[in-house]
């Protein structure tokens, strides 16, 4: 590795360390695991081909983190099954209580609603609104098509609007609507 590559890696580290930790932490529901994942992602960046990877940033880093998280979750799911007692109780990948505490009422409602979305919709929304990725980049990270990313974002935002609306006490749920045929 030459000095220039090292500078590049350090630049990436500076820029993406925080966002990637946040991202992995949410995917895992476990900030400690996120540390492992992000460190590993940068180790992989070290041995990557810069010419290939550089044009694909930041999607490449998010995708690597995501894959490492999925890997880890799959392992831990099996471990929990066998040895639940040995594990710390972790919060799920949904709304993080710490986030909720920090957020105001409206924001808390949005985060709660976000936590209730189907996983992939939630993920697409986070990549967009927390990490500012484009449709194409989201598609690359999640290994789907851009169109699919668009559909996830659309469906996710729509469900979110509904769920945020439901939080208001006056709104009726779907079964209470009783609309005419």
């Amino acid at each position: 590795m030459d000095a220039e590559k090292e500078r590049w890696v350090r630049g990436c580290l500076e820029r993406f360390e925080g966002p990637l930790l946040l991202y992995a932490g949410r995917l895992l529901g476990d900030p400690h695991g996120a540390q492992d994942v992000v460190q590993e992602a940068f180790v992989r960046l070290l041995s990557s081909d810069r010419a290939v990877v550089a044009p694909r940033l930041p999607a490449w880093l998010y995708a690597v983190c995501r894959n490492l998280c999925m890997d880890r979750r799959r392992r831990e799911r099996v471990m929990e099954r066998t040895n639940a007692a040995a594990l710390d109780l972790r919060s799920g990948p949904g709304a993080d209580p710490a986030d909720l505490a920090a957020a105001g009422d409206a924001a808390a409602a949005a985060l709660r609603a976000l936590g209730g979305l189907p996983e992939r919709q939630r993920e697409a929304l986070l990549l967009r609104f927390l990490h500012g990725l484009s449709y194409r980049e989201i598609a690359e990270v999640m290994d789907i098509t851009s169109n699919h990313a668009g559909v996830l974002l659309h469906a996710g935002l729509r469900a979110l609007r509904f769920r945020m609306g439901v939080d208001a006490p006056a709104a009726a749920g779907p079964l209470l609507r009783g609309a005419a045929r």
Binding site: V9, E17, G18, L21, L22, P31, A34, Q35, V38, Q39, E40, F42, V43, L46, N67, M70, R74, R75, M79, R81, T82, L89, S91, A95, D99, A102, A103, A106, A107, L111, G115, G116, L117, P118, E119, R120, L125, F129, L130, S134, Y135, I144, N147, G150, V151, L153, H154, A155, L157, R158, F162, G173, P174, L175, L176, R177, G178, A179, A180, R181
Partner: protein, 803 residues
Amino acid sequence: MSDRRDDPRLTAWALGEREAPDALGEEERAEVDAIRAAAAEVEAALAAAPLPSLDPAHRESLEEAIREARGPAPVPVAAEPRAFTGLWVGLPAAAVLVLGLAVGTGANLDGLTVSYPSYSDPGLDGHLEVRFRAAENAEVRFQSSSMPLANGGAYNAGEGKGGQQPNSSVYGFGGGGGGGSHQYAGNTGGTGPYPSYSTWNGTGGVGGATGGIRPSSAATGNGNLFYSKGVAGGGGGGGGIALKSAGEIRARGQIIAGGRNPEEAKPPYYYGGAGGGGGGGSVGDFAFDTLAIGPDVHVTVVGSLPATLNSLRDVTVNHGVVIVDNTFQEPSTESYGVIVENAFVRPRGDAALSTFSIDVDTAAYSILRRCLMEQNRLPPPGVVRLEEMVNYFPYALNGPAGPEPFAVTVEGASAPWRPAHRLVRIALKGRIVEEAERPAANLVFLLDVSGSMNQPNKLPLVKQSIALLAGRLGARDRVALVVYAGNSGLVLPSTPGDRRDEILAALERLEAGGSTNGGAGIELAYQVAAENLVPGGINRVVLATDGDFNVGVTDQGSLVRLVEEKAKSKVFLTALGYGMDNLKDTTLESLADRGNGNYGYIDSVAEARKVLVDMGMSTLHCIAKDVKIQVEFNPAKVAAYRLLGYENRMLAAQDFQDDAKVAGEIGAGHSVTALYEVVPAGTAVPGAGVDELKYQPVVGDPGAAGEETLTVKLRWKEPEGDVSTPMAVAFADGGGAFDGASEDFRFAAAVAEFGMLLRDSEHRGEASFAAVREIAAGALGDDPGGWRHEFLGLVDRAAGLKR
């Protein structure tokens, strides 16, 4: 008739991903603005979180890796000899690869082809299934690059035990390797013993999982890989396979081994701590030793990959054919009953009557959604309860105009999976009771706090569910909390519903631990409910559990009798199932049925909201109980009929009028849908090889009633009543086409068709996932909760998993 608001371009416009056309309609413009506003709100909410940074230990490890990367490239340690590698690179794109075969061990590799005919959805988190077929005697070896075989990481054929990495001392404390062994197993192949894993003690290695070997007839094996991490690193586990000498073989090994290849086991980073380094021998997905495969033998290896397909890069195949296959179903400790489908019945004599208790549970849908979407597997057929799937979705139905507690709607059209047949939908809609009109509630939450609840999707979710519901209670309502584990106890005496702080504080104090004794807890809960009984109110015990009654009164029969007895004292039961691992589905369902109650399966906060809050108190506010439906079919119009689902709700014809027979209840605003597949008179009845009967009584001219297809008869009791009230609605099928049916009808039909496919129903006719998707996509309606859209995702997933 799709909704304009379904158009994803609206969001793309709102987010500036695409430029919106100038000629945007007013409605679209408003929708785009609304999306933009929601997006801004989400963005603002998310921006509040502070950015973390790497902690010093991880940072230092990374610095070390950087220092190391400056030096000369490390010389790789020789691993197992490999025939060739790089096979899987570019996998998603490859349709069929014919391999160059001249590399490696020198075995005869003629005729090897590797193909991936149906890796269709790269969004499946890299799940891939592979099947081999050998043209002649072949040797096949698989391993995953991310967790390669270490030297000596032996998979001990026939033993399935790990932690025996012979070379481990060479690699520091490195854990032992798992044994990706295949073990002789009994008739069904079966699951080997789950090995323990070790976190701290460096000898790490964990046992390999097992598969099964069976000399003849189909075998199924299941092997999981384990890993351990920690100070001294740990070993990996083994994969599993199952094989037999003739016929089809299936195995499953998940890549969950984390032990590292010795060459990668550097002390500070990866998962190991100071001492460590992962043990060797962790085998990836497909850990099996060289297999000798006879001619025309299939070996199917099913594995989920840790990351992308690129991770499964190193495969050694001497010769054989690799084909994607994904029909494996993981055995599970969850117990689901077996469903025997209702058959077609000819409407003769008493058989003209179809009698069942209504069922408003929806748990089956949540469970199968979890199987499909989170675990990436097909649901066990026993969980596919058609009536629960169909009733999961809200339908737009009119409530009763008269004094009855519910209205009945009947609609008919041709059955999409068998157009010569008719599909009849009978829908009940309960009277809508405004929140202010509902009677006061006396709720006793009975919470399982045993050790098995100590998982994110269990106790914490229970707390959130109750907090959600508590938010809807007022001063006239009362809430109590009873817990049960090793001991039972009252953690919150009956408390007015507006004292929310007390309720939430009591919830907060709950912790899981101990084993479960459901019996004693239930008695205490009923006692508290009885002491605080609100005459004419909602008196209910709400049981929240994963259903693992593993201590004390485990006899399901005596629990059921207890609950049934208490239901007579006007205290009803709602059972909420949480978590997945050992949810005893049938236990909860039968408890709820006998307790005049309902059963919900809760896997997320959204689901808790749907079950407990969106329905207002309707889940809890019963407006009619012991609701039974009896449908009488007219033999002049109907050659045969079949009730879809409700298999465990069937009643004998004479039970209909027997008020002593307990049946389901209906809550305020609830709707209940039942579907019948009807073979019109003059059409051949599937599977009925009986000659026409000679001595059927010939009835006189039925007059106008002769044109009727069926009559729906209902009986119910007021919640406090003991005497049932009858009601009847006649229906004549106009013979309409499926496409002309209402949106709700078409959607319900799609859900039923989906269920029949998942169940492999012999009655599925021309049913297909493509048809289900098309019908459902054309019947999404308003779908404010997104449930129907979500259904489309389930269909796509199932279609990918099942071929």
